[in-house]
Symmetry: C2
Subunit: 311 residues, 2 copies
């Protein structure tokens, strides 16, 4: 069995190759060519942590992948990363373990940020006077790096709860070439931004319907388990078009799940990213629409990023 | 992270210590003190294989466990074991991986056989003129070893499809001190035996209602995924009392699931092993009852056996 540590994994990571694999994966998923059992969730209230376990197999592949991914939000106070976890590849011919990728959560973070880039390609309006990032953590940083390659705008608003974290993020984003405004008022951020990414594990809505202007796209990546929500159900309902990575997962525990379970999405068509990618078209029809992409994270993304690392 | 190979794991394995941990685990499970998300199943038709992923956390423990367990039934022809897999322990405080147990499926096999021993303690009739084992594989062998310590009878009937496998099993069981009869006729086996264990991944019933005499106990451990069945639904219905490891799992995909889903178990009370263990009583009321134990395998068993190995 191959065992790779974080540095060995990052040395093998190529964003563009893996983005292509991810797109193929989303398409295969929406074409029912992927076995992807329902996600397992564990909750560790005493440690302010949670864990999800995803597995997937793309029909015809020589391997399948299992991923254990934790978020332990008190870790930073101990000098540890919030994101923890590993991925494993097994032979689909014999079941033998083939590779253990001790990525410390990086592959999940990277494939999430790359899915966000794909969503931005499909949904971003033509005119963006500023981008907005909700959150200051690892996902907020990775999104910025990968959005840079598809969005030319370098005006940035960042929302966070902690002034220290906001200042650290400002430094980071300035080093990446952005002009940065920080705020603890999400309404102010939304007033300036036409492309917003929400990246927090919040359980209370941060953005509300009244905050959002026509012609805005929001990608929500924080909700990956029951009870996590960054957008109010009314904001979700206000969206003209909603892109989901998985109809089943998003309606069960994604950002849109509350609105869906309250029957507020009757007038909406939920379109899977794989269906849009298969057609090779933009998801957005005009520059006035409000679009929303709800990304819960799919086992097939883990399958594809592991394939890209081990290739 | 600690990495243990199969031999290192087996060196640390103590059947009696782990049996106590398993009993505690079954009780905690039935008392809702265990987080155990629904099992993930993957199917590899092209390879005659399947895989299940289980996870579990006993409230208050310092670690949680994830297990990947495969059955690839063409492996023996390539000189590989059918059972594959590994178990992992993670910190419930930080999410960090703590231990990787490369057990090649042995811990699953061992905790299954030990659960079978617990079921036999709870259900076996007083009078056993012969024990019957359906199957000749690893589980058939492990059950024999652990049943020896709770059942004094040394008369054995073994059913298998292959004469070669039956002869190999005969040799094995004779070395363990049994007088062995082999057969390819399960009805003949059932006529002689009051304690029967079924251990195959069969998708067609091997034992039928007419085969079973009053005063018989059957432990079924083969059905751990949709479509696997060793007993006919009519035989399941004929049982006077049914013990299950998990009400939810057994009715979904266990040996009793067909009968349950066909509405044939209306008159039956399904009792969880943990409830019986908590009361410290025998499950069997008299020597004429037909009892059935349906063991699908629980994530809490993996939690407890890993705890026992790492202690």
């Amino acid at each position: 069995m191959i065992i790779l540590n974080k540095q060995q994994i990052l040395d093998k990571f190529d964003a563009d190759t893996i983005t292509l694999l991810l797109k193929e994966g989303f398409i295969a998923f929406s074409q029912q060519q992927v076995q992807m059992p329902p996600v397992q969730h564990l909750l560790f209230e005493q440690a302010n942590g949670d864990c999800c376990i995803k597995s997937g197999y793309l029909q015809g592949d020589s391997q399948f992948v299992v991923k254990v991914s934790g978020g332990f939000y008190d870790n930073p106070a101990q000098g540890l990363a919030s994101n923890q976890g590993l991925m494993m590849a097994f032979s689909a011919q014999t079941g033998e373990p083939q590779a253990l990728l001790l990525d410390e959560g990086w592959l999940t973070a990277l494939r999430t940020a790359l899915a966000g880039r794909i969503a931005a390609e499909l949904c971003a309006p033509k005119h963006i006077s500023a981008m907005g990032i909700i959150g200051t953590g690892m996902q907020a940083r990775l999104h910025l790096i990968y959005l840079k390659s598809v969005i030319s705008c370098r005006q940035l608003w960042v929302w966070g709860r902690s002034e220290t974290a906001l200042e650290e993020y400002r430094q980071y984003a300035e080093d990446e070439g952005f002009e940065v405004n920080t705020t603890q008022n999400a309404t102010e951020l939304a007033r300036h931004c036409q492309l917003i990414v929400t990246t927090t594990p919040s359980r209370e809505p941060i953005l509300h319907a009244a905050d959002i202007q026509p012609g805005t796209h929001i990608t929500a990546v924080g909700a990956d388990g029951a009870g996590k929500h960054e957008l109010s159900p009314e904001l979700v309902t206000k969206a003209d078009k909603i892109l989901v990575d998985s109809w089943a997962q998003c309606t069960e525990f994604g950002e849109i799940s509350q609105a869906s379970q309250q029957g507020l999405l009757a007038a909406h068509t939920l379109t899977e990213m794989g269906s849009v990618l298969a057609q090779g078209i933009s998801f957005r029809d005009n520059d006035q629409q409000i679009t929303l992409a709800d990304l819960t994270g799919l086992g097939i993304q883990d399958v594809q990023i592991v394939k890209g690392i081990l290739a």
